[in-house]
Amino acid sequence: MAEPRTETMLLNVGPSHPAMHGVIQIKAELDGEIVRKADIEIGYLHRAFEKHCETGTYTQCFPYTDRLNYVSPLISNFAFATGVEKLMGLNIPERCSYIRVIMSEISRLTDHLTCVGASAMELGAFSVFLYMIKAREWLYELVESVTGARLTISYGRIGGVKADLPEDFEQKCLEALQKTREVLEEVHELLSGNRIFYDRMRGVGTISAEDAIGYGITGPFLRSTGVDYDVRKAFPYLVYDRFDFDIPCGDHGDNYSRYLVRMEEMEQSIRIIEQALDQIPEGPTNVDPEGQVIAPDLMADLGKFGKTAGLLQNEVLIQPTLQGSEKRYHEGISTALKTASLPPKEQVYSNIEGLMNHFKIIMLGHGICPPQGEVYCPFEGANGELGFYIVSDGTDQPWRVRSHPPCFPIMAALEKILVGGQMADIVATFGSVNMIAGELDR
């Protein structure tokens, strides 16, 4: 009788594979069904984010940051803005901090919904995916009503946000959150005790707390191993220290723990948003470099005030989405020196001073010039610590912008997690990594 063949087989998973949401390649060496070696290739979505940031102004970096983590773009937006504000020593208005918290948590919700939904779908639970995408849709509608876009939002500004919340936002938001909560309960019933789901997730893709720390892993992935590090609690930024919320932790460090951590984190995010909506104060949403708040009627260049007084009364009323007009955003902005915040769009479209101010900030060589220096600004992204390391040489263009992507360390550890497991578990584990190629490859 012939000897059975014993050599291993090389299998390429990706870069274009239906179960790989994101372009990466895993060169897996298989011994039967067991993964013996997994070579992870990344870089398929490298768009030179950091290089591009060096060639434009600080304001022009915002659209790039949208495209880092395209499932929760608002968090990267605000992280970058906060980094530059730290460099400049700007204190943003309270209302703006609250808006940033609310929008960040909505982003975290959309991110976790996508992650849990997609990884459940890959294990065959297609209805869960549809339910979660339905909930994500309600949240995207909220994001759209505030920022004017669903994904490429560019809502953050240095010293503020693009526009105030719409008038009916609170009520719409609470409704959407309530509906999302119901979806989460439904998903809990469908998945958490489901035999098939449990068996595919429990004990699969395990990592120890020591390994996770050694690899620099943060976020839900780290917390599933029992380490309760969360930037929102450890280094509170914006106004996170004013809310009452928990940091859910798992104890097994496997896929099932990560699923439970994410589910609970969504609940905590909803809690934070509800408290923030309750506490949010009225007031301006933007700030000038001195941190001064100034009456809106002094907005026009004082030297020419007499000439433009008549023009100011003919303001165009516009929405941030530029689609129609409802609410005056004029009062929301408190620029005195006009060197940090963009002027309100009502002025840009209605008088020459506004237009000039606008161009003074947008034009190369004129815009926002933080003093020389460097800063590292950590935020809690949906996948873990998202850090911006910004070096300024004193001009209007950043000398270096480095974004520390939260899923980069996880991908570095992926080989260790996959080896020894089943081929079929690659899909389940990879789903729980929640790799976002945009921020991984930058």
Binding site: I42, G43, H46, A48, E50, K51, H52, E54, T55, K86, L87, G89, D211, I213, G214, Y215, G216, T218, V227, Y229, A234, F235, G373, E374, V375, Y376, P378, E385, G387, Y389, V391, W399, R400, R402, H404, F408, P409, M411, A412, A413, K416, D441, R442
Partner: protein, 160 residues
């Protein structure tokens, strides 16, 4: 302004190799020469009071036309004390080489590959120093300031 506990400890521990210790914007920063980076990293990691157990991030900056040209930047985090420190190592353009930290933190593996890929700084003792974001055939190092942003190097397969 007085130095933070971490910086004081570094000052006590190391006589040579420290260029500056300062706290720009309240963030602990140590600029050290390349010869002591591994010792310093091990000290930060293993000192029972400091316990910087995370190598959170690692990158480089190209200060074009200045000497030394490059700076390798490490961000450490201590879970125990919840403090951060940034360690910077100036690197010469002539021989851009630094000792690898892979033996201390597995996370250094991919970070060092990225710094090598983007800046052309090599790491002594790295197990497998190859490009990570760009493809192996790529020429040059894209994040160097003398690499033009509009230079295109499409990777085209066989034409026939």
């Amino acid at each position: 302004m007085s130095l933070s506990t971490t910086l004081e400890k570094i000052k006590e521990q190391f006589d040579e190799g420290i260029v500056t210790l300062h706290q720009p914007l309240g963030q602990d920063t140590a600029v050290v020469s390349a010869s002591v980076i591994v010792d310093l990293a091990r000290f930060l990691k293993e000192d029972s009071a400091l316990r910087y157990d995370y190598l959170m991030d690692m990158t480089a900056v190209d200060y074009f036309k200045k000497t030394p040209r490059f700076e390798v930047v490490y961000q450490f985090l201590s879970l125990k004390n919840l403090t951060r420190i940034r360690v910077k190592v100036p690197v010469d353009a002539e021989k851009p080489e630094v000792e690898s930290l892979v033996s201390l933190w597995p996370s250094a593996n991919w970070y060092e590959r990225e710094v090598y890929d983007m800046f052309g700084i090599t790491f002594r003792g790295h197990p497998d120093l190859k490009r990570i974001l760009m493809y192996p055939e790529f020429e040059g190092h894209p994040l160097r300031k003398d690499y033009p942003i509009d230079r295109r190097q499409p990777l085209v397969g066989p034409q026939d």
